[in-house]
């Protein structure tokens, strides 16, 4: 369990992380998404107590990580940048880390086997490929069998087989009750691995929700209606919580109604319909939409109460969508 409360980090003039609050529960894989420079790595470094927050605090398993008696049993982290002395062998790197917390030597060997570095464990890390470095980083994160596992871009540089392995590993860790917090810029990867999402942009919280909810909230479902009677169709469908926008002269995008409801209404009103298509936004589209700088509501809805609708949000979102279209 990770609890982030009102966390900010300022570097000179730049506010890299801006009053972030979210929590990462145990037993699930939580994805951490945001465009480059959104503050993901800075946030992760603050969780691991490598960087001191400008404001706010972080609790790892309910405690201040710096005060942990066995830090490696509480939290293991793979940082995006390599964090290994290039002149040391993989085995000695892991051994040195293991010794600080009293992790037994056989655990080092187990992990070397597990991440598939047995053949190169005696070689100096300086010669490792990006993928091998990632495997070593994952091994060091898991040394103390920590309750919280944080991985910054773990699939970076991995071959497809490695990607699959990481995916299964994360799921297995979560199923075993660990807290798994993983950042990625690969939306498709997140869709396959994560069940929860924390999304940030420009250091601010955009969403703290489930993957499903995120997709339906952001892109939601919309229905494309092609009809020659655009004006009549629009007035027929409009109602509370229903938005209708137009991309082309004979096409309407309808939100808040299902294709069935629209088809039935059109049939009853004797309006011709040439096309009726349900559009489901992908995680990727949802992400692009929500992190797009032109989207205004993000700054208002930073507190993440996605259940509550209000006019400002919908209005701003529709405006953005019309602009995109």
């Amino acid at each position: 369990m990770i609890e982030v409360e009102n966390l900010s980090k300022r570097y000179g003039d730049k506010l890299a992380v801006d009053r972030l609050s979210f929590s990462v529960p145990a037993g699930t894989v939580t994805g951490f998404l945001g465009p480059n420079g959104a503050g993901k790595s800075t946030t992760m470094r603050m969780i691991a107590a490598l960087d001191e927050p400008t404001t706010g605090r972080v609790l790892v398993n309910g405690k201040d990580y710096r005060a942990a008696t066995a830090p490696m049993a509480e939290l293991g982290i793979l940082l995006e940048a390599k964090a290994v002395h290039t002149g040391r062998s993989a085995r000695n790197h892991l051994l040195a880390l293991a010794q600080t917390n009293g992790v037994p030597r056989r655990r080092v060997s187990e992990l070397i086997e597990m991440v598939g570095l047995a053949d190169v464990a005696a070689k100096r890390v300086g010669g490792f490929s990006l993928g091998m470095g990632q495997r070593l980083g994952i091994a060091s994160a898991l040394l103390g069998d920590p309750r919280v596992v944080i991985l910054d871009e773990p699939v970076n540089g991995l071959d497809p087989e490695g990607v699959l392995w990481v995916r299964n590993l994360l799921k297995a860790l979560a199923a075993d009750g660990h807290t798994v917090f993983v950042s990625s810029h690969l939306m498709s990867e997140m869709a396959l691995t994560a069940t929860r999402l924390v999304v940030i942009g420009r250091g601010r919280l955009i969403a703290d929700t489930t993957v499903e909810e995120f997709v339906s909230r952001a892109g939601g479902m919309s229905v494309t209606v092609r009809t020659p009677e655009v004006a009549q169709m629009r007035s027929l469908l409009l109602g509370p919580d229903i938005t209708v926008t137009s991309d082309a002269s004979d096409v309407l995008q309808v939100r808040g109604l299902t294709a069935e409801q629209i088809g039935l209404a059109a049939w009853q009103a004797r309006l011709p319909v040439f096309e009726l298509t349900t559009q489901r936004a992908s995680l990727e589209e949802a992400f692009m939409q929500l992190t797009d700088d032109s989207v205004d509501f993000r700054s208002h809805d930073a507190r993440g109460s996605y259940g509550a609708h209000d006019g400002t949000h919908d209005g701003a979102r529709d405006g953005a969508e019309t602009a995109v279209a």
Binding site: R45, A49, A70, L79, N92, R107, G162
Partner: protein, 281 residues
């Protein structure tokens, strides 16, 4: 990479290690730091260079002094100290110790290793204490052995011209141990500089500046100033404990000089500790 990876979660996660209770202790961090120290190839090479410099240059100075003694004037003969001549290689070995000290920390910053180290030990300071203890232990042991070899080798060479003294001569034992202490504490200043600058080049340049560039420069100052200043420089103060072959007016007494050197080390280490604790890794 040829290793075959399995995709089954079962094999992807070995069982939680049964038995040992994980906990960070200063002793464990020290063991870890010793592992780090001995598993980087450059450490071994730098130490080897230090020992070769120390023994080789000491022997060279002893041999040259022995063969040239007959050309010395009365003043040179009056200040002739067979003990410090036989240990003079320490003046140069200290470069290697300083570099090694700086690298011990700056190497972690340049490679990013420091982030792994501090995540494993988020209290941070045990890492610095561990590094200093390992460094001091290893450097003192090695330089003491080298110092003893230098002494006996040097006296043997000087004895070819009947200039050598025995280990029981006044100040001989103190100088042998003192040379090792000087090398150790100077190197610890290097460790502190590495932690302060977090950068190899800056750390080594500062160390070299303080130990090798500034001392001769004080000779350019008017004697009225330099005579009250130069004996307090880290290198000259430290030289006092082993009779380092440098002429300083009003040199400090051996242990006062060593205490001054230790004072510099303590201040720099304290600053390094504050910086390590307070500043983002």
């Amino acid at each position: 990479m040829s290793a075959v990876l399995t995709s089954e979660p079962a094999s992807a996660r070995p069982a939680r290690p049964a038995g040992p209770v994980l906990k960070v202790t200063q002793a464990r961090v020290l063991v870890s730091e010793f592992t780090k120290f001995r598993t980087v190839r450059s450490t071994v090479w730098t130490l080897l260079v230090a020992v070769v410099l120390m023994i080789g240059i000491s022997a060279l100075f002893s041999a040259v002094t022995a063969s040239q003694y007959h050309t010395f004037d009365a003043a040179d003969r009056a200040t002739f100290n067979p003990v410090s001549i036989s240990l003079s290689g320490m003046m140069f070995a200290v470069v290697a110790f300083g570099v090694l000290g700086v690298l011990m920390i700056s190497g972690e910053y340049s490679t990013g290793m420091i982030r792994s180290s501090l995540t494993a030990v988020p209290r941070r300071l045990p890492v610095l204490w561990g590094k200093l203890a390992v460094f001091a232990g290893v450097i003192f042991s090695i330089s003491l052995v080298a110092s003893v070899i230098c002494f006996f080798l040097g006296q043997a060479l000087l004895n070819s011209h009947h200039l050598g003294v025995s280990v029981t001569a006044p100040g001989a034992l103190r100088s042998i141990i003192g040379a090792a202490l000087y090398g150790t504490v100077s190197g610890m200043i290097g460790v502190a500089l590495g932690a302060l600058f977090r950068n190899t080049a800056a750390g080594i340049a500062t160390f070299a500046g303080v130990f090798f560039v500034i001392p001769p420069l004080t000779g350019l100052l008017p004697a009225s100033i330099s005579d009250h200043l130069s004996q307090y420089l880290p290198s000259y103060a430290g030289d006092a404990v082993w009779g380092g072959a440098r002429s300083v007016t009003d040199a400090l007494s051996p242990w006062t000089g060593f205490a001054v050197l230790c004072g510099y080390a303590v201040v720099l280490i304290a600053a390094a500790a504050v910086r390590l604790r307070r500043v983002d890794a």
